[in-house]
Each structure stands twice: as structure tokens, then as C-alpha cells.
Amino acid sequence: MNKDIRLLQGNEACALGALYAGCNFFGGYPITPSTEIAEDMALMLPKKGGRFIQMEDEIAGIGTILGAAAAGAKAMTATSGPGFSLMMELLGYGCMAEIPCVIVNVQRGGPSTGLPTKGAQADMMQARWGTHGDHPTIALCPSSVEESFKLTVKAFNLAEKFRMPVILLLDEFIGHMREKMEMPAPGELELYTHPQPTVSPAEYTHYGDGSSVGGPYASMGSGYRFNITGLTHDQHGFPTGRSDEIQWKMDRLKDKIEGHRAELLEVDQEFMDDAEIAVFSYGGAARSAQQAIREARASGIKAGLVRPTTIWPFPDKALEEILRKVKTMIVAEISQGQLLGEIQRLNQTHTKVVPVQRYDGEMLTPNEVLNAIVEVTK
């Protein structure tokens, strides 16, 4: 069979990845620089029998996908900064009610209306801490068009398995960048769909033991009647004020991350075996870091790249090990230090940490990262 090779934008690859993953419902509101995802879904979903709806705002966008997902859909929305801000309350609802869905944020410059057509990586902390209350967060961040496709598939798989919203943290640079990618053949990438309950409706508990990660849960209209609420609830989904039940629920949410870090984390490393200088970067910025490291290596500098594709949960242990190993860590990002803050939090060894930041709407260039690498070797 001939290979299916296409020239695609990151946003287009994201929409195609969603369809590959079995997405059959999209609800959203137009916003630059994410709109291509909605447009592609509007075109392609009905061909596959799925449904697209343009809602009246981003709050309704996430609300309608949560409703569809509660009724059994594999659902997604896509937005950018201002819309992501509006979605925060219902992102928390999705975590509390344990409803799987994928939320794509194609990051642009902020705050406020900011830079609609220019990229940034400054929603990293919002993705983790934007909604109120303690809650689990999974956020994936692609650095290429191909990764945009594959991590969208992974986001759906994780949403289904972990029963929660999963954030795909794209940025405008990757979202609008065009590059070649080979389309995965049907069946090539693993797809996960959550199991349905096998017990009788009378025995069914919507938040029963073992259903938090990888377990069965029912959809509305499947013959299992249950209650879903954003109020803190017991295993049947009914509101509770009992401290033992509150503790149970909050620990259940916490365990989704704390009990499964190894499964969730993915850190790509290049030239790290003998590296004395590590560049820590992700998403769009990592492409420049990658180029800078190749150039540094060509001039004999022992530099390497550490690039997480899962940014939340944060790869604490992997990072601590690298901080112990290298002399210097350069943190390259398109924000005023959101990534840097996490590195400093984990830098128990007091390794030298050098920030390289840009937040003027332009892409961090390979030269800027290379200059920082050369500077620390002096």
C-alpha cells in the first residue's frame, strides 16, 4: 500500500487525529488561531456520522461536549486564550464529574485579547491551575505537525481511560506551521475506549471502586440510570457533605495523577547521554532548541535536549535526575518564565539554570538558544 503523505498544518493534523481517535462530537466557538480545527471538524464529522455544533460562546462549547460525552460521545472542543479562560469553570466540572473529553488550546499571546495571530506558551500554568479547587490535570504539548496528530489521539485515549478532560496545549507556531507527515494507517495507533459496565443496573455505581482509571462506566441512556453533579459526591454520584466521602472523592481524583505518573509522563531526550548542558523546552519553542543543539554539537559543545510531550503532570523525577547530571540547564520558552518556575522548584542540587525567553509575539529563534548555549561554555 502506498504511504499517505500529506502537507498539513498542526491544526489540521489535530482535527485528523481527533477523527482517527473516533471523535464523533465537536462543540465550540470560533477563535483565532484555533479556528481551522472547528472548520475541519464541521466539514469532516458529518461525513462520518458525527456531529458538529457551533455554540454561542466557549462556555457553551465545553458545556455541550460535556453533555454529549455524558451521553457516550467521544467529544472535543478547540479554543485559544480568551476562550480557554471562559472554559475554566467547566474544565473543573469535567474533572469533578469525571467526564472524558479533549480540550485543545492553541495558545496565543495574552493577557486579555493580546495577540490573536501570534503564538505564545503562556497558558501552561492556566492549564494546571486555571480552575478553582484541587483537581487532576493532564496536558500534552506537541512540537510538530505529526505530534499534533499523535498526541490528539493520545489525548482521547487518556481522556477515556482516566475519565477526565485532557488538554492538548498547542501553540500558534505549531498550529499554523505546515510540514510533511505520514498519516498513520487505520489500526496503526492504539485506540482506547472505556469498557461498559457488566453488572446489573441495580448493582451499578457510577463512581464505583476501580472505575477511576481504566475501569467501566456507563453513558446516559444506556439503561444504567445515575446522577452526575459538580457537587462533591459519593460513589453513586449523589451530593455529600460527609467528610469521609469528601476525602474519598478528593483522593480518588488525586490518585488519577499520583498513582499513574509513570504511565502519563513522556520525555523525549536527544544527545543527553554525555550532555553537560541540557536545554529544557517543549511545544513550538523546542523546535528552535533542537536546531540550536544540533548546531552546538557540530561545534563540539556537549549540549542535549529535554523535551516533555506531557507537560502536566510535570516530569519531576526525570528533571531532578537531569539536574543532578548536567552542569547547566537552559530553559527555553515563549513566556515570562512559567516553565522556569517549575525547574526552580525542582532544582534541589542548585544546578545553574539559565532562562531564554521571548514574549514579543515572535518565535524564539535557534540563534537565541544557541547564543545562550555558547555563553555558558565561556
Binding site: P46, A60, N227, G230, L231
Partner: protein
């Protein structure tokens, strides 16, 4: 022992007593909804009750349907997703005057315009009850609330007129006092294709009643009895004799093709069928 007719549709073992105050009209509305569903012979498995936040929005916990208690103002957005993904389900939205018309006002008008196939039961008690009696978009001008100690300076919405103007297929109003009329209106709304609204005027003696010196729960229901007029009777009277009264009945009822059916056609078109 004879069971209460509503019993089979409730979650008695799990979630009673309810949160509603003595004299609240919401239980009467709940009874009317349950009887309407029973009359239609619909099974609990095909019913989805979606609500927002507030006193009325607590209803899904008590009723043994598929139940989805969402965030403040957002019930209609969630319900649209449920219905669009699985159009076979009967989706009822339970909401209040603050939930539907203030924080959820945008979703409300757009669901009317879109003609999403939902039945919205808007339980209007003219006040925010859950938070202790603040004025809502349906508190009449001059009436008192905890945030309007001198009377409100704002005009109120007519939810039925708003829904009709926004494109709803069916609008009706009933009062808690006349539970049988309310039940019939809800039954008609449930069978209606497209967006249907039933505004159920429900007394709040604990907050609205006390703050506005309307008397006991019984007195508030008696006031409803004395001041309610059906639209058919109202149409024959001069305006000044209708002014100040609650007009009940069906205001707007048109045949439409609901959103979900139009989208089904789009799917067929996209698939070249």
C-alpha cells in the same frame, strides 16, 4: 399500603428529604412533571433531566431519570450536547429564573433560536432562593430582595415573550396553584418537536414572600388562585382588567423541524445520500 403515584419515579431510599423549604412550590412542579411523563408512558431510561444551579435545579437528584446537575446557567448547553449526540433521549431542562435568564440567558435565547429539541421547565419564583433572596431577572420592579432593600430599580423579563421572540416552537405558562393545568402544559410541551418552554410560577414564601410581606405559603397560593387568568379568558377582556394578573396557558405553538432533524439531513447530505 398504597404507594404515592409519583413514588416509582423518585429515588426515595437515597435522596429524601429534599432541600426545598416548607411551602415552596417546586415540589408541586416536580409532581406535575412526573405525572406528565407517566401519562406519556415514557420509560425512566429514555428520560434525561438536566439542570443548572439553584433551588429548582436540585430536582434531578430526586427523580429517578438519567440526571445531570450541571453548573450555574449551563444546563441548556449540556442538554444540547446530550440531545444532539443521542436524539432518541427525551431531554428535560430544569432551571430557575436566575439560572435561565441571568447567568444562562445567552444559552437560553440561542437554544430557542437553534430550535434544539429540548423541553425547558423554568421554575420562576422571582428570586434567588439558594443564596438567600437576592433579586433576579424576574423580580418585578419595586419588589424587595436582600440586594434590593429599597425595592429593585430594574425591570423584569417575561420569559415566554423572550423565548417566542428568540424562536422557540412552543411557550406556555402555568402556576403551582393550578397543578393540573401545569401538568397538561408540560405533557404538551414534552411531545412538542423543537424548543419548548413551560414557565412554572412557583411561590417562594420563605424569601420572596417574607421580604415582600406576601404572607404564608397558603396565602401566596391563594393569591395565585385569585390573580391567575387563562389566556383564552384574558383575550376577551379589556387590557386594564388583565394588567397585574398572571396569564396562563399556551402562548405560542408552531410546527417546526427541530435542530436535530435538520442536522440528520446534513449528515445524509455530507455522506452523499
Amino acid at each position: 399500603m398504597r404507594m404515592h403515584p409519583s413514588y416509582e419515579m423518585l429515588r426515595p431510599g437515597k435522596k429524601f428529604p429534599h432541600v426545598w423549604c416548607p411551602g415552596c412550590g417546586h415540589g408541586i412542579v416536580q409532581g406535575a412533571i412526573i405525572r406528565a411523563v407517566q401519562k406519556l408512558g415514557w420509560s425512566r431510561d429514555e428520560m434525561v433531566m438536566v439542570s443548572g444551579i439553584g433551588c429548582s435545579s436540585r430536582m434531578p437528584v430526586y427523580v429517578d431519570f438519567n440526571s445531570l446537575h450541571t453548573a450555574h446557567g449551563r444546563a441548556i448547553a449540556f442538554a444540547t450536547g446530550v440531545k444532539l449526540h443521542n436524539p432518541k433521549l427525551h431531554v428535560i431542562v430544569i432551571t430557575g429564573d436566575g439560572d435561565a435568564l441571568a447567568i444562562g440567558g445567552n444559552h437560553f435565547i440561542h437554544a430557542c433560536r437553534r430550535n434544539a429539541d429540548l423541553t425547558v421547565i423554568l421554575m420562576n419564583n422571582n428570586i434567588y432562593g439558594m443564596t438567600g433572596g437576592q433579586y433576579s431577572p424576574t423580580t418585578p420592579i419595586g419588589k424587595r430582595a436582600s440586594t434590593a432593600p429599597y425595592g429593585t430599580a430594574e425591570r423584569d423579563f417575561d420569559p415566554c415573550a423572550l423565548a417566542q421572540a428568540a424562536g422557540a416552537a412552543f411557550t406556555a405558562r402555568g402556576v403551582a396553584y393550578n397543578a393540573l393545568e401545569l401538568e397538561k402544559l408540560i405533557e404538551t410541551a414534552l411531545t412538542k418537536k423543537g424548543f419548548s418552554l413551560v414557565e412554572a410560577i412557583s411561590p417562594c414564601p420563605t424569601l420572596y414572600g417574607r421580604l415582600n410581606k406576601e404572607g404564608s405559603a397558603v396565602k401566596m397560593l391563594q393569591w395565585q388562585k385569585a390573580n391567575t387568568i387563562n389566556i383564552k379568558a384574558a383575550e376577551k377582556l379589556p387590557m386594564d382588567q388583565v394588567s397585574g394578573k398572571i396569564v396562563t396557558g399556551i402562548f405560542h405553538d408552531v410546527e417546526t423541524i427541530p435542530y436535530t432533524e435538520i442536522y440528520d439531513r446534513i449528515i445524509r447530505k455530507a455522506q452523499g445520500k
